[in-house]
C-alpha cells in the first residue's frame, strides 16, 4: 500500500540537529525499501477553475498552516505501519501538523 505523508506549513524551522536526524531517518527508510520519493514544496500559484475560466492568484504561501510544505511517498504493508513510520518521523520534527493519506493502488 502506498501512502503520501505530508507536512503542513507553520512548523518551526529545522536546525542542524534536525537535519542530521532527518538525514539518517531518510537513509534508513530508503534502505528498508520503504521510502519511494520525498521532496519539499516551494510557494506557488493558486488555480481556480469555474465555468471554463481559470483564475490564477499568488500563493499558497508556505507560512500558512494548511499548506503542504513537504511530502514523502512510502510503500508500507499496512496503514498501521505507515502510522508507525509517521510517529518516528514526527519524533524527529517535533511540533507541527501533517496528514497520512493512502494512495489508490491496485489493491484498492
Amino acid at each position: 500500500m502506498r501512502f503520501l505523508m505530508t507536512v503542513n506549513g507553520g512548523g518551526r524551522a529545522p536546525d542542524e540537529q534536525m537535519y542530521a536526524n532527518m538525514g539518517r531517518f531518510v537513509e534508513e527508510m530508503t534502505r528498508a525499501g520503504v521510502l519511494l520519493a520525498t521532496g519539499g514544496l516551494d510557494r506557488g500559484t493558486h488555480v481556480t477553475a469555474a465555468d471554463g475560466n481559470i483564475t490564477l492568484t499568488d500563493g499558497p504561501f508556505t507560512e500558512s498552516k494548511e499548506v503542504i510544505v513537504s511530502f514523502a511517498l512510502i510503500e508500507a504493508r499496512s496503514e498501521d505501519e505507515a502510522v508507525e513510520l509517521a510517529r518516528r518521523f514526527w519524533k524527529i520534527v517535533g511540533d507541527g501538523e501533517g496528514d497520512i493519506r493512502q494512495v489508490f493502488g491496485p489493491e484498492g
Binding site: T30, R31, A32, G33, V34, L36, A37, L73, E75, R77, S78, D80, E81, V83, E84, L85, R87, G105, P106, E107
Partner: protein, 428 residues
C-alpha cells in the same frame, strides 16, 4: 478491547513488521540458532502484547523489543546448560574476537552499530535461503524471518493450508539446527552460488505474487511488494553485487505493470495491449536507476541484468509499436547462452517474430515441440498459435489456441484463448 488497547495492538503489529527481522538477526548471532532466535523474539512480542496496552507504548518500541528479547535469551542460556556450553564452545573457537557474552548483548541492544545489525540481517537472508533447505522451505522461512509475516499470512499468500506452512517452517528451522548451519555470510568461494539462491527465492516470491488473479486474497499480490522490498534491502546490504541490482531493476519494472495487467473484468491483458499510461512510472524510473547501477559495475551481465534489460526495452517504448524487438531478441539470445532453457528460447522466438522474421520465430518454436519441459506449458501452443495466425494459417492457429486453453489453469486466460480460437475460425 478499549481504544487504547486497540491502538497499542496496531502499534505492536506495525513495530513487529518493521523490526522483527533485525531483532531475530541480532539474536541469532548471539544464540547461533535462528529457530531459537525467532522464539525469543516472539516471547518479546508476547510481553509487548501484555504490557503495552496497560503501560503505554514505549518511546523506542524497537529497542524495547530487542531489550526484552535479550533478557529472555539470557534467562534461556542460564536455564539451558546444553545451550550455554554450546555457546561457550563456539566462543572459545572464536575467542580472538569475541568479548564476553554480556558485552556482546549490550552491543546488540545499543543498536548504535548499524553496520553490525546490517551484517546480521545479511546473514539471516543467507541462512533463510540455505541450500540445505528445500526451495519451498526457503520461501516460507524468508517470508517468516525477513518479512515478519505470520504463518497465516504466508499460507494465504502461497495458497497453502496454514498447518502445512507451520510444519514447513518448523521443519526448516530444525534442519538448519541439526545440520549446524553456521550463521554467517558465506565465504567468497561459496558466495556466488549462495547469493544465486537468495536471488532465486526473492524472485520466486515476486512471481508468486505476480501470478495472482483477480479476486485473489490481497496477500497474494502483496508478495510482489514484499519481494521488492526485500530486494531493495539486499541491494543496500550488498551494494557491490551487480546481479542484486539487476534483480531489483527487474522487479521494479515488472511491478510497474501491476496496475495495467488485468482488464476491469479481471482478465489478463498481454503486455503489448496494456495501457501504458497505467504503468507506474515511479517504479519504472527506480528500475532504470537500479539497472544503470548494475551495468556501471562493468561486469559481464548476469541473467537478472539481462532480464531487467529486456523489461526496460518494454518500459522505454511509448507505444507497443515502438518496442525495440531486435534488441530484445539479442538480449534473449545472450540469456539463452547464459542460462539455456526452453522457456527463454520460446521468448526469443516471440522477439524474433516481433522483430519482423515470423517464419524464423516459428522455426524456433517448432524446434521446441519435443521439449518435455514444455509438454504442459500452455504458452507454447499459445505462442505457436499467435505466429501461425500472423502467417495467415488460421486453421492451424485455432487448434493451437484450443490446445493452450485446455492446458492453462487460469480461468480468465482460458477465456481469452478460446476467443482467439473462435476469431481464427472466423478467418482471423
Amino acid at each position: 478491547m478499549t481504544t487504547d488497547s486497540a491502538a497499542a495492538h496496531s502499534t505492536i503489529d506495525a513495530v513487529w513488521r518493521i523490526e522483527s527481522a533485525r531483532i531475530i538477526a541480532g539474536l541469532a548471532r548471539l544464540v547461533r540458532d535462528v529457530g531459537l532466535a525467532e522464539e525469543l523474539a516472539q516471547d518479546a512480542l508476547v510481553a509487548a502484547l501484555e504490557q503495552w496496552p496497560v503501560e503505554g507504548i514505549p518511546a523506542r518500541p524497537g529497542a524495547w523489543l530487542m531489550l526484552t528479547a535479550k533478557h529472555r535469551a539470557i534467562d534461556r542460556i542460564r536455564r539451558d546448560e546444553r545451550l550455554a556450553s554450546k555457546l561457550s564452545l563456539l566462543g572459545r573457537e572464536m575467542e580472538t574476537t569475541r568479548q564476553d557474552a554480556s558485552a556482546e548483548f549490550d552491543a546488540v541492544l545499543d543498536d548504535v552499530d548499524d553496520e553490525r545489525i546490517d551484517d546480521d540481517l545479511l546473514r539471516l537472508m543467507f541462512i533463510s535461503c540455505h541450500p540445505v533447505l528445500s526451495t519451498e522451505a526457503r520461501v516460507a522461512l524468508t517470508l517468516r524471518l525477513l518479512g515478519g509475516l505470520t504463518t497465516e499470512e504466508i499460507a494465504r499468500g502461497l495458497l497453502a493450508a496454514e498447518p502445512t506452512i507451520a510444519k514447513r517452517i518448523t521443519r526448516a528451522k530444525r534442519t538448519l539446527a541439526s545440520n549446524e548451519v553456521p550463521f554467517e555470510v558465506p565465504s567468497p568461494a561459496a558466495r556466488p552460488a549462495r547469493l544465486a539462491s537468495v536471488l532465486e527465492v526473492l524472485y520466486l516470491i515476486f512471481n508468486e505474487g505476480y501470478s495472482a488473479m483477480a479476486g485473489d486474497d490481497w496477500m497474494r499480490p502483496s508478495l510482489c511488494y514484499e519481494a521488492l522490498r526485500l530486494g531493495r534491502v539486499l541491494a543496500g546490504l550488498m551494494p557491490d553485487e551487480p546481479e542484486v541490482h539487476g534483480l531489483v531493476a527487474l522487479m521494479e519494472i515488472q511491478a510497474s505493470r501491476i496496475p495495467a495487467r488485468l482488464d476491469p473484468a479481471g482478465r489478463p491483458v498481454p503486455l503489448p495491449e496494456q495501457n501504458r499510461g497505467r504503468w507506474d512510472h515511479l517504479l519504472i524510473r527506480r528500475g532504470f536507476t537500479a539497472l544503470l547501477r548494475a551495468q556501471q559495475m562493468g561486469q559481464p551481465p548476469g541473467p537478472y541484468i539481462l532480464q531487467a534489460a529486456i523489461a526496460t526495452c518494454h518500459a522505454r517504448a511509448r507505444t507497443a509499436a515502438e518496442t525495440d524487438w531486435r534488441q530484445i531478441a539479442m538480449l534473449y539470445e545472450a540469456l539463452a547462452t547464459l542460462t539455456p532453457s526452453p522457456v527463454v528460447e520460446l521468448n526469443r522466438a516471440v522477439a524474433v517474430a516481433m522483430a519482423g522474421d515470423t517464419e524464423q520465430g516459428l522455426r524456433i518454436v517448432d524446434g521446441l515441440a519435443a521439449e518435455p519441459a514444455l509438454a504442459d506449458y500452455h504458452h507454447l501452443p499459445s505462442v505457436r498459435g499467435d505466429l501461425l495466425a500472423r502467417l495467415g494459417r488460421h486453421g492451424e492457429a485455432a487448434g493451437e489456441f484450443r490446445r493452450a486453453a485446455a492446458l492453462t489453469r487460469n480461468g480468465p486466460e482460458r477465456t481469452v484463448l478460446l476467443r482467439r480460437a473462435d476469431d481464427c475460425d472466423a478467418g482471423g
